[in-house]
């Protein structure tokens, strides 16, 4: 499976890098295939940003489609040149893939920030994903938001591998650290009643402390918003923040409770917008009205 993504990475880097820089990388990859020793890999990983720079990887729509075709869920948007090259080096050294998980764990344990982001962003492309689950979860325990997001955002690994508790903890932590939910793949598909209950408790905690909650929270609550939870959504629907009100309306629209229809009907214009498709979670996330 990794063969095709690594060929894509290589093509993108060759297209973007100056010839001398790419030749250096190609030499390193070949050397790593022949002798994947720790020392060689450590030095290659250390030298990559120095030799190749840290520009954003330039990707077209067609590239993104090719990525999706090569490995469903693989979303390299926002990757940089050094990250792509580091992942490629790791794949080159993986060879017959024995002991990959041990090596991955050791590398994560001594990574600097940029390196850690690259290592975790590569999760969908590595061999033996089952063996990488614990280290992926370790990546979520970080205090460094960008490292957390390297696991949680635009990454199919969590939706495919994490059990419900791990998944729920990830979503809650994203809110907790002020990160966003919409880049989490499978957010709707993996919503569950336990998560909705945790998020409602979290909202109460925030409100008790006089703090706002992220409107995105309601996305994971809506489908499980039974009658007893409706007062909370009603509160959000009357909130001061426009995005919060819109989010509450969307959650009400997803609620299985009949009373939700009544509440939503009372929201007038918002109900009509949802009805016409003008207001969706995607629009809310990408076009937050509150800031306007």
């Amino acid at each position: 499976m990794a063969e095709q993504p690594s060929r894509l990475l290589r093509t993108w880097l060759q297209r973007q890098l100056p010839e001398t820089a790419f030749d250096w990388l190609a030499g390193q990859l070949e050397a790593l295939q022949q002798d994947p020793s720790d020392r060689k890999l450590h030095i290659a990983l250390g030298m990559i940003p120095r030799r190749l720079g840290k520009d954003d990887l330039a990707l077209s729509e067609a590239d993104l489609e090719a990525a999706e075709a090569a490995r469903p869920g693989w979303d390299p948007r926002g990757w940089s040149v050094d990250e792509a090259a580091r992942i490629l080096a790791l794949l080159a050294a993986a060879g017959a893939n024995t002991g990959f998980a041990e090596r991955f764990t050791a590398l994560c344990g001594s990574a600097e920030v940029g390196e850690a982001i690259a290592l975790y962003r590569g999760l969908p492309l590595y061999p033996d994903p089952a063996a990488l689950e614990d280290q992926a979860a370790e990546g979520l325990r970080t205090n460094m938001r960008a490292v957390f997001e390297a696991v949680a955002h635009r990454n199919p690994f969590p939706r495919e591998r994490f059990d419900e508790n791990r998944w729920n903890q990830m979503v809650l932590k994203a809110l907790f650290i002020g990160s966003s939910l919409h880049p989490i793949q499978g957010l709707d598909a993996r919503a569950n009643p336990a998560l909705a209950a945790i998020l409602i408790d979290y909202a109460h905690e925030r409100w008790a402390a006089g703090r706002p909650v992220s409107p995105e929270l309601w996305r994971c609550v809506g489908p499980f918003a039974v009658a007893s939870l409706l007062p909370d959504l009603e509160r959000a629907l009357r909130g001061e923040d426009e995005t919060e009100r819109r989010a509450a309306a969307l959650a009400l629209a997803a609620s299985p409770a009949a009373e939700a229809r009544v509440l939503l009907a009372g929201a007038g214009a918002l109900a009509a917008e949802i009805e016409s498709g003008a207001l969706t979670w995607e629009r809310l996330e990408h076009d937050p009205v509150a800031q306007a």
Partner: protein, 308 residues
């Protein structure tokens, strides 16, 4: 005025220190790998320590608008534990090329034992192989001879003095360090190393060429505002502003900039990828206001309640 503090053990310091340093105009710090106050007993704790200073500490500093760099090395005290030293030497190449590593250091002598000498020399060779500058820790005891010897050994191994910073100088060592062409750093550390009034006199006597001021703040009673306060005193006592700028900013940048890992752009014009990952920016400098040293002082007062 912007300052660089090129010798700080921030792993031992609090967020109050970071806030005070940023408010005083410190834009970048360099954290040399060193002893942590009590001996490490195995290579695993060394790996975790080095990972911490290249990783989380770098991130933490960025939250306060300060750029964080470090040096990687086996310190002289722990070089005396041969079993540990052998294992640490094995892992140094794994860390010396990490982002933001500006030198091999701080290395050199403590008791000037044979083992210290052995690992000092091996690390000088590593610095040559990886083309990195070197930060030398000169001994507290028998300092004058230890300092001369450190420079002798650097020369013997063919390191150009322009790539070597000799730290913890004092009135007795500065002349020789400068005459031999090395960078001469001074640690403004209460009681044991250099005082700020004495430092001002050294600047008056020797000028600022190749002179570097640092705080060496660590787990002991030390002063993270050592560089900023020395600059303030020097200006008050008539040292020309350009000399203060050299000693408290530019020389450190020039010396460690030879690694290619520290650039003025890092804090003046940070790349977007850094701003997304590890640097929140310094609002005080961004706002263009003259930073005030006094600003952050009151936080520890009992009158200053946190109300939220």
């Amino acid at each position: 005025m912007m300052f660089i503090d090129p010798h700080t053990h921030m792993i031992s310091r609090t967020t109050d220190d970071y806030e005070a340093m940023a408010a005083a105009g410190v834009v970048a710090v360099i954290e040399p790998a060193f002893w942590i106050g009590q001996p490490r007993t195995n290579v695993g704790s060394y790996i975790d320590y080095l990972s911490h200073i290249v990783g989380f500490e770098r991130f933490r500093a960025g939250q306060f608008g300060i750029r964080h760099y470090c040096t990687i090395g086996l310190n002289s005290k722990e070089a005396n534990n041969e079993a540990l030293a052998e294992e640490v030497m094995e892992i140094l190449p794994r860390f010396a090329l990490k982002e933001g590593v500006v030198a091999i250091g701080e290395i050199g002598y403590d008791e000037q034992s044979d083992l210290e000498d052995k690992y000092f020399r091996l690390q000088l060779e590593l610095a040559k192989e990886l083309d990195l500058p070197v930060m030398i820790h000169t001994p507290h005891r028998d300092k004058k001879r230890g300092t001369s010897r450190s420079m002798d050994v650097c020369e013997e191994h063919g390191l150009p003095p322009s790539k070597v910073v000799i730290d913890h100088n004092n009135e007795e060592t500065v002349q020789e360090t400068l005459e031999r062409g090395f960078w001469a750093a001074f640690s403004i550390y209460p009681s044991t190393k250099m005082g700020n009034a004495r430092m001002v006199e050294i600047l008056r006597q020797y000028g600022a060429e190749r002179i570097i001021v640092d705080s060496a703040c660590d787990w002991g009673i030390s002063e993270p505002l050592g560089v900023a306060k020395t600059a303030k005193l020097a200006l008050e006592r008539g040292i020309p502003e350009e000399q203060v700028r050299l000693a408290c900013y530019q020389n450190a940048l020039d010396a460690y900039g030879q690694s290619g890992q520290i650039k003025e752009d890092d804090w003046l014009n940070p790349p977007a990828i850094d701003q997304r990952t590890l640097y929140e920016g310094n609002s005080i400098l961004r706002g263009g206001r003259e930073p005030k040293i006094e600003e952050a002082k009151i936080k520890r007062s009992m009158d200053e309640l946190i109300i939220e």
